[in-house]
């Protein structure tokens, strides 16, 4: 892959120029770090991992599927704004890749597709683990980006990862010089992110240690909301109070951690126990998704652990299960 060089002092200028043609979305620090639209390139904050994932820009928290009036249905058309995402970590990028599998590959979701189509993905390589909860090194992440920025003290090495990235680099050629070298696999390694020892959890379903997490879980759903890959949702209809013939059908984020998630008519709840719900999330992330699509869904960003009000560290729990396997008849 082609590698370019961008002087650090020129980054802000580069982004300011890019901003004329694109909407730039990058991590910004307010109360917490989150991806927001930036107005000035100086706003970008790359010290820490963003608290919120970037998924809401593609798979929106709330989406109008269609509007209706009486029995006629209209679908809102989306303005195809060109967006450039800057500062995406390796985990964020892989999370986008995994959601692409679900929404584009599997069922062709037109809303997700429209949001995704005009988006350019510019990554920022972590030289060190940006959060103590990271464990992306334990999972099989791949290179997935248009451009990837490797921070090298006074300059960036920019790896081109796609045709789109290539055209972008050509468009803003004046900022880049040829680096005359390639990015080595060693440079792509992130130190200190190999916490998860136990990637295959198929034998642990009945393990007693799930209680360690389930007993302190509040079923609040913070983990699934902050997860960059979790993709479940609900569909509801909303009507105008003044005119009930008019309204819209909406899709909203949901969470498998809520008891309501599996409640059917007649009040039967299939995953009534907290432990079952907690386990279901981890199994979906590490096993079920892989059974269906061939890759693990979890990307090891650790946001579900950082954002958990009781700091349930499922990575530690899984490691303990592995290490105590023989005693527990696992």
């Amino acid at each position: 892959m082609q590698v370019l060089r961008l002087e650090k002092k020129r980054l802000l200028h580069f982004l300011d120029v890019v901003k004329k043609g694109f909407e730039i979305i990058a991590p910004v620090k307010s109360d917490l770090v989150r991806f927001s639209k930036i107005y000035h390139a100086e706003e970008i904050y790359l010290e820490k991992q963003s608290y919120f994932p970037v998924k809401e820009y593609f798979f929106r928290k709330e989406e109008t599927l269609f509007q209706f009036r009486g029995t006629s249905i209209t679908v809102p058309a989306y303005a195809a704004k060109k967006r450039m995402f800057f500062g995406l970590r390796r985990c964020d990028l892989n999370a986008i890749k995994n959601q692409d599998i679900v929404f584009i590959g599997d069922m062709g979701d037109p809303y997700y597709k429209a949001a995704r189509e005009n988006s350019y993905l510019l990554g920022y390589h972590c030289n060190t683990a940006p959060s103590p909860y990271c464990f992306c090194g334990s999972l099989d992440l791949v290179d997935f980006f248009d451009l990837m920025f490797f921070d090298k003290e006074d300059h960036f090495l920019v790896e081109v990862g796609s045709e789109r990235g290539k055209s972008l680099a050509e468009k803003y050629r004046e900022f880049f010089t040829d680096s005359q070298r390639l990015i080595t696999q060693n440079e792509k390694r992130i130190p200190g992110v190999h916490r998860l020892e136990n990637k295959d959890i198929s034998g642990f379903y009945d393990h007693q240690d799930w209680k360690k997490g389930a007993d302190i879980c509040l079923s609040c759903g913070a983990c699934t909301t902050l997860c960059p890959t979790c993709y479940c949702f609900e569909i509801h209809d909303e009507v105008k109070t003044a005119d009930p013939c008019k309204g819209e059908r909406r899709r909203e984020w949901s969470s498998c951690q809520l008891q309501e998630f599996t409640r059917v008519a007649g009040d039967h709840i299939f995953r009534k126990e907290r432990e079952d719900r907690f386990k279901h999330r981890i199994y979906h992330q590490l096993q079920y998704f892989k059974e269906k699509y061939g890759v693990q869904m979890c990307v090891g960003c650790g946001r579900c652990i950082e954002g958990c009000p009781t700091r349930i560290d499922f990575v530690r729990i899984l490691n303990e299960m592995k290490n105590g396997k023989t005693e527990n008849n696992g």
Binding site: F66, I73, V75, D106, M107, G108, D237, K292
Partner: protein, 273 residues
């Protein structure tokens, strides 16, 4: 906001259909016939709903390319709203979804159909299918259980079924002393146990409340049925029916895509989920 006309490729969009017939089956359930012309397998389902109210998954209980019949029990928002419909009204449907009963691969067998309560609805699809392909299947044995004589579904069809097939109807409690359609008091499982039936060239189809399915499977196993001779139809909460929203997951399987019909050996490890 700029609007565009509805396009066919959007999988979330339902289409309007006319109700050809509305028939009240029992005090809390009804059957609607809609003019939806689709090719489907018995056991597949559609998302049926009303704009402004919502959608719910209902299995198709007929076998025709000219219309679909849906038997619906009034238990939630959407189903109660649907119960207010009349002939000629519009209903919004998308589908069919899911994997139905693989009838084509079961030719030459006898069919043992065991249903409980509103679980009889998807099984009626098999009965109608077998009727339309009568030469492909041997005997049909229907074993249908309800709570009380008032809850017996498909009374219009029952007499015909009684004449053509080996039909047994059971009621858990016989509240007012009269037995119609030769119904017996007791559970389906009791009737099944006293039945002289072997697994020889016999396929069992079971649908009903989870407890009933559990005991029926146990008693089928006692009679020598193999796991791959038993088909179950499962029920879960679902929104998208496209294998995305995750509500209907039974461990790693999606009821809406991998099911709702499962062969017992596919899901027997998932029993408690």
């Amino acid at each position: 906001m700029a609007k565009q006309k509805t396009t066919v490729e959007n999988p979330y969009l339902p289409k309007p259909y006319k109700i050809l017939e509305f028939y009240r089956e029992t005090s809390d359930s009804f059957t609607v016939k809609a003019d939806m012309e689709i090719d489907h397998d018995p056991g597949q389902f559609v998302q049926v709903g009303l704009l402004g109210i919502g959608e719910c998954p209902i299995s198709i209980c007929s076998d025709s390319r000219e219309y679909i019949q849906l038997n619906i029990r009034e238990v939630g928002n959407v189903t109660i709203a649907l119960s207010k419909l009349e002939q000629g009204d519009t209903v919004f449907i998308r589908g069919p979804y899911g994997k139905g009963y693989p009838m084509r691969y079961l030719k030459g067998n006898s069919l043992l159909i065991i249903g409980g309560g509103c679980g009889v609805a998807p099984l009626k699809g098999i009965i109608d299918y077998a009727e339309n392909h009568r030469r492909d299947y041997k005997d049909l044995t229907l074993l249908l259980g309800y709570r009380s004589p008032d809850d017996i579904l498909f009374q219009r069809e029952l007499l015909e079924w009684k004449n053509r097939y080996n039909l047994q109807v059971t009621v858990d409690q016989n509240t007012h002393g009269k037995f119609c359609y030769g119904a017996k008091e007791g559970f389906v499982t009791d009737a099944l146990e006293s039945m002289d039936i072997s697994n020889n060239n016999q396929i069992a189809f079971v649908c009903g409340p989870p407890v009933m399915m559990k005991f029926v499977i146990r008693s089928l196993k006692d009679k020598g049925f193999n796991d791959d001779q038993i088909f179950l139809s499962t029920e879960r909460l679902m929104y998208c029916a496209l294998g995305v929203c995750c509500h209907c997951m039974i461990k790693g399987k999606f009821t809406c895509v991998d099911g709702p019909v499962f062969r017992y050996d596919e899901i027997k490890d998932l029993e408690n989920e």
